[in-house]
């Protein structure tokens, strides 16, 4: 990849990291509140299903994770395993797609 492409990759990873920081915090706080409030699975699903807000929130979360995590793995592969180039990029893209598909399945399960 060109140096300019690498810079875009870096920017994408930083930008998604910033969004993920917010998403993870909201997600964890929600979890803790739900558990402390003694909400049952059914009660939680009752609030998330059909809610455009939660659907958007988790869709953004999944998209950012699907960008951020493979780019991090790509750097680790390059630096620790000296695995660089097309094959490494393809493997990371494939991993990103897996995260995206699994993530959206989960979003659909709790919000549709």
């Amino acid at each position: 990849m060109s140096p300019r492409g690498e810079m875009r990759v870096w920017l994408a990873q930083r930008a998604t990291a910033a969004v993920l920081a917010v998403c993870v915090t909201v997600h964890l706080v929600t979890l803790i509140v739900a558990v402390h409030g003694g909400l049952s699975a059914a009660a939680i699903l009752g609030r998330t299903r059909g809610s455009p807000g939660w659907m958007t929130f988790y869709a953004v979360f999944v998209v950012c994770a699907a960008i951020h995590a493979p780019l991090g793995l790509r750097t680790i592969a390059a630096e620790w395993l000296s695995w660089r180039g097309r094959a490494a990029d393809a493997a990371c893209t494939a991993f990103g797609i897996v995260v995206l598909v699994l993530g959206f399945r989960a979003v659909a399960a709790v919000t549709l």
């Binding site: 990849m1 140096p3 300019r4 492409g5 690498e6 810079m7 870096w10 390059a78 630096e79 620790w80």
Partner: protein, 241 residues
């Protein structure tokens, strides 16, 4: 003050990459530097010991070696500070090919300065009036904070990313590029930024600050590299990169 009969148990790297440490007992002296120890061995025990130095006062940047595991400028490193138990292990700098004994091949280190466009590109000629640069401007202050590099490669030897990615330009070359990016008289800012972006450039830095911690001139290549990342991001958003 050390007693005159007190000995410093010194192990010095001899040979090339496949060499080994050899032991020497060197008399302790007051205010003795690590470079003094190496010079004593070379003058009194084995004249074939290869090492590099020039100024002996921390200006030329040629005397850096690995001392008890850490890269240091040896002419300004006092034995008393780094070898409290009178044991000293002196090896060539890491991350550079060994030529022989304590001498490393600095070519790739300085080639990378060129790759990072480390030379000033003037926008005026000798016939123009001398440029007036306000010393208090933020750009000049940023450049001044990074300008006193002596090219010793201590930072380069400290950096894990250099070890992991041999193409990485490294802290010193990027620090140099930053001083020019902030130099208002320079004419190739955009080309320089394109030369230092990417995974061989500033974007490979993990900001783990080992270079900054070890730099004998107390510079902060980490800050310079962060500045390059910021400048590159702004230039990219403006469509200049």
């Amino acid at each position: 003050m050390p007693r005159p009969e007190q000995l410093l148990h010194t192990r010095v790297w001899r040979g090339g990459t496949d060499g080994q440490f050899q032991s020497y007992d060197v008399p302790r002296q007051e205010s003795q530097t690590v470079l003094d120890v190496v010079t004593w061995i070379q003058r009194r025990v084995d004249p074939s010991l290869a090492y590099r130095f020039a100024c002996r006062v921390g200006m030329c940047g040629s005397c850096a070696m690995t001392v008890n595991g850490l890269p240091r400028w040896t002419c300004r490193t006092h034995v008393a500070r780094v070898a409290p138990d009178d044991r000293l292990e002196i090896a060539p700098l890491a991350n550079l090919p060994i030529v022989r004994d304590l001498v490393v091949d600095m070519r790739e280190f300085f080639d990378k300065w060129r790759e990072a466009k480390g030379q000033f590109v003037p926008t005026a000629t000798r016939h123009d009036p001398i440029a007036r640069v306000c010393p208090d401007s933020p750009a000049r202050r940023a450049a001044d904070a990074a300008i006193q590099c002596i090219g010793c490669a201590v930072c380069y030897a400290s950096c894990d990313v250099v070890a992991w990615n041999p193409k990485y330009l490294g802290p010193a070359a990027l620090n140099r590029a930053w001083t020019l990016v902030r130099d208002e008289r320079d004419g190739e800012r955009r080309q320089r930024l394109s030369a230092v972006v990417g995974d061989a450039g500033c974007h490979a830095c993990h900001t783990h600050t080992l270079c900054t911690e070890r730099c004998p001139m107390h510079l902060s290549p980490t800050t310079s590299i962060a500045g390059l990342k910021r400048a590159a991001a702004i230039a990219a958003l403006r469509g200049e990169l």
